[in-house]
Symmetry: C2
Subunit: 95 residues, 2 copies
DNA sequence: CTATTAGGTTTATAAAATAAACTACTTTAT
DNA sequence: ATAAAGTAGTTTATTTTATAAACCTAATAG
């Protein structure tokens, strides 16, 4: 490729939005991410799982009083991957 | 969405690479695009078709001597779409 | 008690990307 | 002249992804 490959995990609108969000806030919960991205709960659940499995984010589930609460934060590995993705895609954007 | 939607037609590594390429050269043939993007012929054929159907590129097939030759060029509509895509994705890249 | 809401997860379906196989024709070698 | 290999693609099939719909559990409101 004359073009650098784009990490498929990040080259997804929703997952990219999630990462973008988490990088600026350092920690966010499920509901907030859902609101900010406009995703459906089901879709978000799946994509958070993928990011988590990849080690790009850390998901912790705990109870806030009686309600379950899922909070996410980006890992160093996730930050690296994001930065690398940004560099790669810039190559496509300014030809 | 707090994040602008990304045109699904352009949010594909290969189609984005093709557009990026065509924008800088103004006209390229199938073989050249294939080489520059590293795509397989089959995949490229399919993706060029999608870009063409969307009106983002214009594909013309003619003969060069005895060999078939497919050349592509970006349309004004395609250029607009590309520029809009770039603006949208920038929002995700610098949080 | 039943109905609704909150916060999710799991399963099913639709759409996309990719690869493999194929077509049609040309060139090279025998 | 014919077989083998190469060029330029297209079509079909398979795999992956994304999305949506259905479901679950607990809590609160009527």
């Amino acid at each position: 490729m004359a073009f650098r490959a784009l990490d498929p995990l990040l080259h997804s609108q929703l997952r990219l939005a999630v990462m973008s969000l988490l990088i600026s806030v350092e920690s966010a919960d499920f509901v907030y991410i859902k609101e900010q991205t406009g995703a459906t709960a089901g879709n978000l659940s799946v994509q958070l799982d993928k990011l988590s499995t990849a080690g790009y984010i850390e998901v912790s589930k705990h109870f806030e009083g009686k309600k379950p609460k899922t909070t996410c934060k980006v890992t160093p590995k996730g930050l690296d991957a994001f930065e690398s993705y940004v560099k790669s895609i810039q190559q496509y954007l300014k030809p």
